[in-house]
Symmetry: none
Subunit: 416 residues, 2 copies
């Protein structure tokens, strides 16, 4: 929800806003997804960060502060959405991102605040309109693109609501409904099993006029779209799931006065950064290329969010060696960024993904903060155990950006 | 007060509740009362934990996370009530336990939410009804039991309010008034000095209908009880103190979905655990017997609260050697528990009781958290100074249970 739930949070944000000033500082937030890990017996009590050879991170540790960050609250394991919102300085308990929105982002959709995002699956219908295959035989991606093009060409709006259709892989696609007075969540139109008709999307809150409008827009969309697919068997119908609303979020520019660029490879992270109004930079595929692109864009932005996925992937697979390698790859590329060293560098994860857990976890992720004002915590390396001893302590991830702003001289003194 | 004072706390608790799932994990909370201590010159700068020989805790430290916990808020020294409520995951600023309630618990009373608990002293009255001895010459405990039996037999209710009378030591006893629409606190009926009549119990808030009802119930109780004691000089009257109300507290089962057992020796801790609905296990007198009982009950409960008093007693006496010995006794018994190792073990105190202070203190108590997901903080022992370096950091004690739940896999991921 976009409305702050807590008076005290609101007040502190107001204070930050009042003190905020532009300083011209360049800042880089380097996210090694799922970075944090555990020292377990199975891996000789070393974490991947401890086991990796990281000469460049080691060098940066000198003249850096370290700490650990609680992504949401003690014991809570975040998804990628809340993990990143916290890194961007938005309280993840205050600004929730619906599952449908995350899925839409993962499929490459570009959302704006207020959009209703829907995940679609093409399906097969029989003559009576009953679902015979909920995934339309997993049609090839090219077919999906072709069908989305047909729908996009014929249907650009329903009433005053703009309709944006984006194909995904195989039978999957995304629809965005963009316009005034829409809200989710609505129930799925996917009946969940074959032999049933397409269900109606119904408001979760029957009293919500906005949800009712969204339901009516979706029903009208079906009326227009189904005839267009009539002869497209096996993909002659579609089911909608995760009909979710993206509440308005103040943009990065509005909140911090910073022009922010997102250098991410995976759609989800591009999408999350766009939710807060960052500029999506397309092109780079490797971390070296991302850092290279940063050099080229140095003058055009104040803040660079650079996302590296492979630490998380390795953690999810429980592949310790791969996580070590991913960290070493990141480290090897780091000197590219340092050719034009930003005034403030933060290196961290959006959460921990311990190999022993093979999934996201609640363990605070380590963070390294480097600027002319970070001092040195007497730590020779950047590791979980070292970060426990750092001058930043253990703090809520939503405050990282406040530390970065402070190190970027973006806050006036509070009081005389 | 039962009503949450803070919107944000409430929201966070709601979030925890939404994410909560049952996992079948077994958890043990081992409380060495008053564990935390100080390294002072007088004791060669060793704390009792540092001075003690603790091979079993040392072994457990490997594969454990450590930290320190703020029992209530910085600088605040808790009583046993708030200290334990925080360990049980209830914000001690939100859920207060009145002094009369704590005293009633200490005398072995079994309270329910909504009860008004009162501490009574038998006293001597002269013919005019003036108090001549506020403690009735400290009658023997047997006499007290006899008088309580007389009262209990004759008075089981006042109107629709149930009356439960429990004898204590010497002249002391406890009354519980149980029924709808009662509330404290009321003023004492103890006039505070001899030569005065028994005072009326009056509402602290004159506008409270519930307090008025409680006052009227107590006045009626006096009318019925005093005639029964008429011939019992020197104990022919009684004075009431600490007339307090136990607000309803959601039970451990309601809040966490856990079947919890309390293995405590002292009445106060049995009582505190019962306030939150834990099952009181009677019998064991030593920590070895408590751990043994845990083994027997392993299948019947999900959560075991095991309370060890002697660290606190030694601290209160300023007896460093006794505190060291108590820790060593605890350590020696620990292998019994480890015969069926719970999935999650937390070892801590409810507060610090430094020998140099001879009383409870505000110093954060050390905590050790062991599970398959705790990793190792590279600390070879469990001590205050070591805990300062641990991955749990310094956190509010009320979050310990959230950490335990996370390690017990009791929380679904937050957001996608």
């Amino acid at each position: 929800m976009a409305t702050p739930k807590s008076e005290s949070r609101n007040t502190l944000d107001d204070t930050y806003a009042k003190l905020q000033q532009s300083s011209g500082a360049k800042m880089a937030l380097l996210v090694m997804d799922g970075l944090g890990d555990l020292a377990t017996r199975d891996q000789s009590y070393l974490t991947p960060l401890e086991a990796a050879r990281t000469p460049n991170l080691d060098a940066l540790s000198k003249d850096s502060a370290q700490g650990r960050m609680i992504p949401v609250a003690p014991g809570i394991t975040p998804g990628s959405g809340p993990g990143h919102l916290a890194l961007f300085g938005y309280d993840p308990l205050e600004y929730e991102v619906g599952r449908g929105v995350i899925e839409a982002l993962g499929l490459g959709a570009t959302l704006k605040g207020g959009d209703v995002a829907v995940r679609g699956n093409f399906c097969s219908l029989d003559a009576k309109g009953l679902v015979t295959d909920r995934r339309a035989g997993r049609i090839p991606t090219e077919k999906c693109e072709e069908l989305c093009a047909i729908l996009s060409k014929q249907i650009t709006a329903v009433g005053d609501t703009q309709v944006i259709i984006q194909p995904g892989k195989e039978h999957r696609f995304v629809i965005l409904f963009r316009g005034e007075g829409l809200e989710g969540p609505l129930s799925d139109t996917d009946p969940g099993r074959e032999g049933q008709p397409i269900a109606a999307a119904t408001p979760s809150n029957p009293k919500s006029a906005k949800q009712k409008k969204a339901a009516s827009v979706i029903a009208d969309f079906y009326k227009q779209a189904l005839p267009l697919l009539k002869n497209q068997h096996p993909a002659n119908g579609f089911l909608l799931r995760g009909i979710a609303h993206q509440p308005a979020i103040p943009t990065f520019q509005e909140r911090y006065g910073l022009r922010a660029a997102a250098l991410a490879v995976y759609p989800m992270y591009k999408g999350l950064s766009q939710l807060v109004g960052m500029t999506k930079i397309e092109g780079p595929q490797t971390i070296a290329e991302q850092f290279q692109r940063y050099l080229e864009l140095y003058d055009d932005f104040d803040f660079f969010f650079i996302h590296f996925k492979y630490t998380d992937k390795a953690g999810e697979d429980g592949n310790f060696e791969a996580k070590v390698r991913a960290i070493e790859d990141f480290d090897a590329a780091l000197p590219i960024l340092l050719q034009k060293k930003p005034d403030v560098i933060a290196i961290t994860g959006d959460h921990s993904t311990p190999c022993a857990i093979k999934g996201h976890s609640w363990h605070p992720q380590p963070v390294l903060l480097h600027s002319a004002f970070s001092g040195w915590d007497k730590l020779d390396r950047f590791t979980e155990t070292g970060a426990n001893l750092g001058s930043l302590g253990i703090f809520e991830a939503k405050y990282l950006i406040r530390h970065m702003q402070a190190h970027g001289k973006m806050f006036a003194k509070f009081g005389a």
